[in-house]
């Protein structure tokens, strides 16, 4: 992007609320999610030179956050027992959010999807990225993105049709 350094920094600042939301679709614990945002900010600014001219700062930052999550997620897998992170009972959302139960329910359903399906669902359905942008973030062809999206949706329809009280 031909923008001057200050413009990039402003865009990063403006993206913070959305980066935090994206991170929360990946990490259930709000503090873990903010740690991902922190890494994305540091890496994004430290590698500002890699941002290609004319490309979307939003998609670029999502891509960095996604990579950070994949790194973290894989390294902490061994501490998890099938989708239940340690201290899961402490993560009952932030008290400032509207409906922590609904958020928790949706987060839990998302957490059951394979990583790549979860990313596709999060980027397209929650963040509202176009197929082209989401495929670029995930570094896959559009066809791969849409098939992951389709499978993710199908699973979520089943999981969430059990209703907000459906988690056991």
């Amino acid at each position: 992007m031909s923008a001057s350094p200050g413009d990039l920094r402003d865009q990063v600042v403006a993206m913070l609320p959305r980066l935090r939301r994206f991170a929360r679709t990946l990490a259930r614990d709000p503090h873990d999610a903010d740690d991902l945002v922190q890494i994305a900010i540091e890496r994004g600014l430290a590698h500002a030179g890699q941002l290609r001219a004319g490309s979307s700062v939003a998609a670029w930052l999502f891509g960095i956050l996604r990579n950070a999550w994949i790194d973290e997620h894989r390294s902490r897998r061994h501490r998890e027992v099938l989708g239940l992170p340690e201290g899961a009972d402490e993560t009952v959302g932030d008290p400032t959010t509207g409906s922590p139960d609904e958020l928790l329910c949706v987060q839990e359903a998302l957490g059951r999807l394979p990583d790549e399906q979860r990313l596709a669902v999060s980027l397209v359905l929650i963040e509202g990225l176009s197929y082209k942008e989401a495929a670029a973030v995930m570094n896959v062809p559009i066809g791969t993105l849409t098939s992951r999206l389709a499978r993710g949706r199908e699973t979520l329809q089943t999981l969430l049709s059990e209703g907000p009280g459906g988690r056991s």
Partner: protein, 245 residues
């Protein structure tokens, strides 16, 4: 005509071409089962979005805001910057200080805007602050990606608001002010105007930090923004349309 699940999903995601979309919509009117499948996809999308929507309204933690403003920015791809998570310094008090400064500035600003009597970059019309003169010209004509060196007005980011208006952040010099203006009724309505943060928030060697937005402007952007900031191409396209929806 039958439609695959992928076509239905692409419809809900706004990714269908006009011809297929028209065919699908015609079929939906006739076929209750098809309409039902689409409604289910729409409901899923709406539910996921609604569940995470409150996160956008949470205040951004001060340490993240501070980091975004001050973390070293490296444009040269050949230099490797060490990334260690423990290195991040947290100075939440600085946010507080900056906020206090902007509140004090707010009181002074009132005087300044009114005293200008039409000479300053902002006038009040029907109780609404409106950009004028060089500020209005810059908001209409200046692209963030190509700002003249030493320009009196600097444009920050541009975006669409949730009500569909184009909004842009700006900063002006003498006095140092930052703000957010949105295009409505053929003029730039100033949503927030505050004293630009001087070097107080950042040590001298972070030279970009002064161009970052004060907390009051960030808060206004977070409250208004729908989607992402416009990239250089979208910004140029919006300018061509005269910032009209």
């Amino acid at each position: 005509m039958t439609f695959s699940d992928e076509v239905l999903m692409a419809y809900v995601d706004g990714e269908l071409d006009a011809a297929t979309r028209a065919a699908l919509e015609a079929a939906m009117a006739q076929d209750a089962a098809l309409a039902q499948r689409i409604a289910a996809e729409r409901a899923l999308r709406a539910r996921l979005r609604a569940a995470f929507e409150p996160v956008l309204d949470e205040p951004v933690p001060a340490h993240l805001m501070h980091l975004a403003r001050t973390a070293p920015e490296q444009r040269d791809t050949s230099t490797v910057v060490p990334l260690r998570r423990g290195e991040v310094r947290r100075h939440p008090w600085r946010e507080g200080l900056a906020l206090a400064a902007s509140l004090v500035a707010g009181v002074l600003l009132g005087h300044w805007v009114l005293r200008g009597g039409g000479l300053g970059p902002v006038v009040t019309r029907d109780g609404q602050m409106v950009a004028r003169g060089p500020l209005a010209e810059a908001l209409t004509g200046q692209l963030a990606a190509r700002q003249p060196a030493g320009a009196a007005v600097r444009i920050g980011i541009s975006f669409r608001s949730s009500s569909g208006q184009y909004c842009r952040t700006f900063s002006v010099r003498a006095p140092e002010l930052s703000g957010l203006a949105c295009r409505a009724g053929g003029q730039w309505q100033v949503q927030v105007l505050t004293r630009a943060e001087a070097a107080a928030a950042a040590p001298g060697h972070y030279r970009e930090a002064a161009s970052s937005m004060p907390p009051a402007v960030v808060a206004a952007v977070s409250a208004e923004i729908a989607g992402s900031p416009l990239d250089a191409r979208a910004e140029a396209a919006a300018r061509r349309r005269g910032w009209e929806r």
